[in-house]
């Protein structure tokens, strides 16, 4: 397994450092890795003094472990990740699936270390946006909900910026527009820049509608919550395990567990479970291989009408209408 110990940042000095570790070299805004089966794109663009983006669109032909060890902590990384294949985030030896089927949007304070394993044969399409905390803070300053708690949110002694979330439909659309753009020339730079602004705008809207939870989070706690999320996803076809069981698994009190879970995922454990259950049910529906009744049974809904009701609440239309719109 190739081991890549690296760092990120808004300033671009990390680019020349990571290229040889990937077995490649820097050419303009690109990192070229010779000998890749399907040569992909690794494109870096500093958009302004506060924002840099790293676009990764590659197929892996070897296993790689990335070890993120930032030396700067003046930025936040926002990762939009559409990976198909086996890719795993590891925080404190706690693995979790990343990419298309699990949490495909992650936000990390640069101060948190992380590890990321990608298996050979995976296809990654990922946008990593690095944004200065001062700039992010000024974006939130204009929102009235955030204005009062802003200093606490951005004070590392009181709060750690960390979140695992799911991309919105708008973010999916933006990622796909970018994916279909030829990755060369000044027009590509314009589309990448436009995509980053669109994703940030969408993410701000998403954040502003979520409850703000100020809490300093230590790496061990993040790892426990992530393991708990992974447990819920692994048991998505079963009934909800219950807060007391989940809190005990996470070695936390129920109160602390509920609070941290909501901070990191944006959902209560129960809502997270149901949202993902519905999302898996929707994927199953899209295959066209199952009836609504079969899917209801498969994912442990009481019956078909329970699934239909929950589906309509979540997506605004019934499963049947959804199928006709496909």
């Amino acid at each position: 397994m190739r081991e890549v110990i690296h760092q990120y940042g808004v300033e671009l000095d990390w680019v020349a450092d990571i290229a040889p570790k990937l077995g490649g070299y820097v050419e303009g805004n690109y990192i070229i890795v010779p000998g890749e089966e399907r040569p992909g794109t690794r494109f870096i663009l500093q958009i302004n003094e506060n924002i840099t983006v790293f676009v990764i669109n590659v197929s892996y032909n070897e296993d790689v472990i990335y070890k993120l060890r930032n030396t700067r902590d003046d930025f936040v990384g926002v990762y939009f990740n559409l990976t198909e294949g086996d890719a795993v985030h590891v925080l404190n030896n706690m693995p979790r699936m990343a990419g298309r089927w699990a949490c495909n949007l992650a936000v990390f304070d640069a101060g948190l270390n992380g590890e990321y394993i990608v298996k050979s044969g995976s296809t990654t399409f990922k946008l990593a946006i690095f944004i200065k905390k001062t700039a992010l803070k000024s974006y939130f300053a204009k929102d009235e909900h955030y204005a009062q708690v802003l200093d606490s949110v951005f004070d590392p002694a009181q709060n750690t910026i960390v979140k695992y979330d799911r991309m919105s439909n708008q973010a999916w659309w933006l990622m796909n527009e970018l994916r279909h753009t030829k990755a060369t020339g000044p027009l590509y730079e314009a589309v990448v820049t436009g995509t980053v602004y669109g994703l940030l705008s969408d993410y701000l809207d998403q954040m502003i509608n979520q409850e703000i939870i100020i809490e300093q989070v230590i790496q061990e706690d993040v790892a426990c919550i992530i393991r708990s999320q992974a447990y819920l996803i692994d048991h998505i076809a079963e009934a909800f395990a219950g807060i007391s069981t989940l809190a005990a698994h996470a070695h936390m009190s129920e109160t602390k567990y509920k609070k941290l879970f909501k901070k990191i995922t944006g959902f209560s454990p129960n809502a997270f479970f149901l949202t993902n259950k519905l999302s898996f049910a929707k994927e199953a529906l899209e295959t066209g291989n199952f009836t609504i009744g079969e899917i209801a049974a498969q994912f442990n809904f009481t019956d078909a009408s329970h699934l239909i009701e929950q589906f309509r609440t979540a997506y605004g239309i019934t499963p049947k209408e959804y199928l006709t719109l496909l």
């Binding site: 958009i47 000024s138 974006y139 939130f140 204009k142 929102d143 933006l174 527009e177 753009t181 060369t184 020339g185 000044p186 027009l187 314009a190 589309v191 820049t193 436009g194 995509t195 980053v196 602004y197 669109g198 940030l200 705008s201 969408d202 701000l204 809207d205 502003i208």
Partner: protein, 339 residues
């Protein structure tokens, strides 16, 4: 209303925010953060936002309802930028008198224009109606570098040689751009970080779409004078205002444009991207599409006659060829809506 009562505003854009001071001076507008313009309430409600998006690209979004007529003239300037204009409103408006559609009421206009800052522009925004428009200002050298990826170096150099060619066209807004602009229009106000980020995103995507679209245009190399432009647009507007009649014919249109038939055809195609004949019949069909969806007619036959086709079957055939569906599939009939 006499001419003296009409206020006039003369201005020109700059790639940076400086141009806004002209509006402050002439209309008494309020300028906030060097990007938000608020117009005095006795002239218009609403305002505009101007952002520098990237080096060589700025965007101006305007959302206003004018209360008095204002003749707005954009002065030609020897600056180094192109202006791309999008008017996001109903492109065809129909005014209904009583329960019959009044023929004079069809008003069709083209929602998008691409022009050199050296070309003059005059608009008179409708009074009492919301005007929602967006303009991209793009540095010429930057635009050339974007467009160069889609053409050979030889064609690019010719297209951008200002001694030989003027870049200028008028058109409907393409559907990808329209989706983005409608999304923007749903936002309630200009303020907030997420709005500014969204506006920058949309400006860059619109730029990408216009570059992709213009790459498909057949290059017609001609230097245009202001008079050429005004004359050609006079004939295209005449056709848009007379869509219910028959095609007026090339000789009549060339005469109106004060040009030879040959020159007229070439310049018309350069600016409107279609021959005069095609332009007219396509616009007629687009109006037909609107009438089909309007719910003001009982059947396809009535619409075909309204549009001036003698044979409803011919309308159906043309419509199907253009839109891929029959008029009957699209028709919202008057009876149905009344239930």
């Amino acid at each position: 209303m006499t001419g003296e009562n009409i206020r006039s505003l003369n201005y020109y854009y700059t790639l940076g925010p400086d141009w806004q001071h002209q509006i402050v001076k002439s209309l008494g507008a309020q300028l906030i953060d060097n990007k938000l313009l608020i117009i005095p309430e006795d002239i218009a409600s609403g305002g505009s936002i101007f952002l520098e998006v990237a080096p060589g690209l700025s965007v101006h979004l305007l959302d206003m309802t004018f209360h008095v007529p204002v003749a707005i003239t954009r002065l030609p300037k020897d600056h180094n930028y192109y202006m791309i204009y999008y008017n996001i409103g109903d492109e065809i408006s129909t005014h209904i008198l009583g329960d019959t559609v009044h023929k004079v009421g069809y008003h069709s206009k083209l929602g998008m224009g691409f022009m050199d800052c050296g070309v003059k522009g005059v608009i008179m925004p409708p009074v009492g109606e919301r005007t929602y428009s967006l303009r991209l200002l793009v540095d010429k050298t930057y635009y050339k570098s974007l467009a160069a990826t889609n053409r050979t170096a030889e064609v690019t150099d010719l297209l951008f040689d200002e001694s030989k060619n003027t870049l200028f066209f008028y058109s409907h807004i393409d559907s990808r751009s329209k989706v983005l602009l409608n999304e923007l229009k749903r936002e309630h106000h200009f303020s907030g970080s997420s709005f500014e980020l969204k506006l920058k995103h949309i400006a860059l995507y619109l730029l990408n779409y216009v570059v992709e679209r213009t790459a498909r245009f057949e290059p017609i190399i001609n230097k245009l004078s202001q008079q050429d432009i005004d004359n050609i647009l006079k004939t295209s507007q005449y056709m848009l205002d007379h869509l219910l009649s028959e095609f007026p014919g090339l000789p009549a249109m060339a005469e109106m444009a004060e040009m030879s038939g040959t020159k007229y055809k070439v310049l018309f195609k350069k600016i409107l991207k279609e021959s005069p004949n095609h332009f007219f019949s396509n616009e007629k069909l687009l109006l037909g599409q609107r009438l089909l969806q309007s719910g003001d007619f009982y059947n396809v036959k009535d619409i075909a006659y309204e549009l001036g086709y003698n044979n409803p079957g011919y309308f159906t055939k043309l419509y199907k060829r253009t839109f891929g569906a029959t008029p009957a599939d699209v028709l919202v009939s008057k009876k149905m809506r009344d239930f």
